[in-house]
């Protein structure tokens, strides 16, 4: 979101642009923070359950086939790549551990979050954005319905519920995918594959993965809803174009922040 130039005083160009930009980011950060806080508090008000269930359907249940498909192929390609690398060290027995740990710790939460962003995040932004530009949110305001509670809170709650569940699907199907390539295709020992999976995965890895999934859920839903909700305040376009730009920013920003927060959460957990 660009800002209008300050008038008058002579300012050196690098400092002005950098300063304005940074100020803009800090303002946006604060706005997102307040947005998240208000919407999150509204989750616990009455009568949210039907809308939360509805959103879990759209965000969670309908993303499940995509997530499982991506999980299957991620596991299969991991099995393939890791096998050919481990064969050089003679440690193909470690395939089970390698696949399980990389999926549960990193790839599961991150790839699930990215897939759901692409599917449900973009639709959240567009839906709320169009409701904004067609003034439906103003109509809600005139009916004294809090649009934040009505539109945004169910989506945030549904994301927090769905992301960990879908991450679990991804992990399990990914491990099965690794089994398909490693054991069925490349002839590894089935018993040692699952034995390695069971012994090398610890409870800390699993909880870490789910903590990440929840963090990603909050980030994705907040950013996508925020971009859609404030699409009318974009200074670079109006109407339909602004919805398009908001959706693009929302998805790109969500993906970038998923990866950045992945690093931060990982370094905090380790």
């Amino acid at each position: 979101m660009t800002r209008t130039k300050t008038s008058g005083e002579k300012q050196l160009w690098p400092f002005e642009t950098v300063g304005t930009k940074v100020n803009g980011w800090v303002d946006d950060l604060g706005a997102v923070g307040i947005f998240l806080l208000r919407a999150f508090i509204m989750v616990f008000r009455a009568k949210q359950l039907p809308s939360i269930v509805q959103q879990v359907y759209y965000i969670g249940a309908r993303s499940a086939p995509v997530v499982m498909l991506v999980g299957l192929f991620t596991g299969m390609v991991l099995g393939l790549q890791l096998y050919y690398t481990l064969v050089k060290f003679g440690s193909t027995g470690a395939l089970g551990s390698a696949i399980a740990l990389s999926l549960i710790r990193e790839l599961g939460p991150v790839l699930t979050a990215i897939m759901i962003t692409a599917r449900a995040g973009s639709s959240m932004t567009t839906e709320i954005g169009i409701q904004r530009i067609s003034e439906q949110i103003d109509a809600l305001y005139t009916m004294r319905i809090d649009s934040l509670r009505y539109l945004v809170s169910p989506r945030i709650a549904a994301s927090i519920i769905s992301f960990p569940l879908l991450t679990a699907f991804f992990d399990i199907i990914g491990i099965l995918g690794g089994y398909l390539t490693g054991v069925v295709l490349l002839g590894l020992d089935a018993g040692s594959y699952f034995y390695r999976v069971e012994t090398s995965v610890e409870i800390d890895d699993i909880t870490g993965g789910f903590v990440k999934a929840v963090v990603f859920a909050i980030i994705v839903s907040t950013i996508c809803c925020f971009q859609g909700y404030f699409t009318h305040m974009r200074t670079d376009a109006h109407g339909a174009k602004s919805v398009g730009l908001s959706t693009t920013s929302a998805v790109v920003l969500s993906c970038v922040l998923i990866l950045i927060s992945d690093y931060v959460v990982t370094s905090l957990l380790l």
Binding site: V53, Q54, V56, Y57, G60, A61, A64, A100, I104, I161, S162, P164, L165, L166, A168, F169, D171, I172, V197, E198, T199, V201, E202, I203, I206, F210
Partner: protein
């Protein structure tokens, strides 16, 4: 798609998701299966290098317990290892506990030769005969620098 209402699908989704999470937590997270039907034995080692809490305890290669914890005995200059053994496994008082490595560069585990004397070790007893882990680096160093006597003479080692 009015055949299945949205609620049903969501319900199924959440249930399957929770089952998946539960499966991962229980099966993969190594939730302890020993629990109450186990008893503690202690063993003193002069070194437990590489041994960690949770490493298995094996008798004749079969896992019968886990390493529960470590304690330092500073008077005797030894480490007291708390071993949790499954109830029903008999270990006698002439048992030997040794720290071994699974494979050449693997996880450490405690191997117990249960012994054959008449006296059974009771919960809380000490295994007196212990063997600390073999330090591979030390061994290779000794061989390379000619400390190990072979056939009555010294090994070649480095040319002096």
């Amino acid at each position: 798609m009015k055949k299945y209402s949205h609620e049903t699908v969501v319900g199924a989704f959440v249930v399957i998701g929770l089952v998946a999470i539960a499966y991962m937590t229980v099966k993969l997270g190594n939730v302890s299966l020993l629990g109450d039907d186990s008893y503690s034995l202690y063993a003193e080692f002069s070194s437990v290098s590489g041994l960690r809490v949770g490493n298995p305890v094996e008798i004749f290669g079969m896992e019968v317990g886990k390493v529960e914890g470590f304690r330092m005995d500073q008077e005797k200059q030894q480490v007291v290892v708390d071993l949790k053994i499954k109830t029903g496994i008999d270990i006698y008082d002439d048992a030997i506990a040794s720290v071994k490595t699974a494979g050449l560069i693997g996880d450490k585990y405690v191997s117990i030769d249960p012994g054959g004397s008449d006296e059974l070790l009771k919960p809380g007893d000490f295994i007196l005969d212990t063997q600390s882990p073999i330090d591979l680096g030390d061994l290779i160093g000794k061989y390379a620098f000619g400390d190990i006597k072979k056939d009555g003479g010294e090994t070649k080692g480095e040319e002096e």
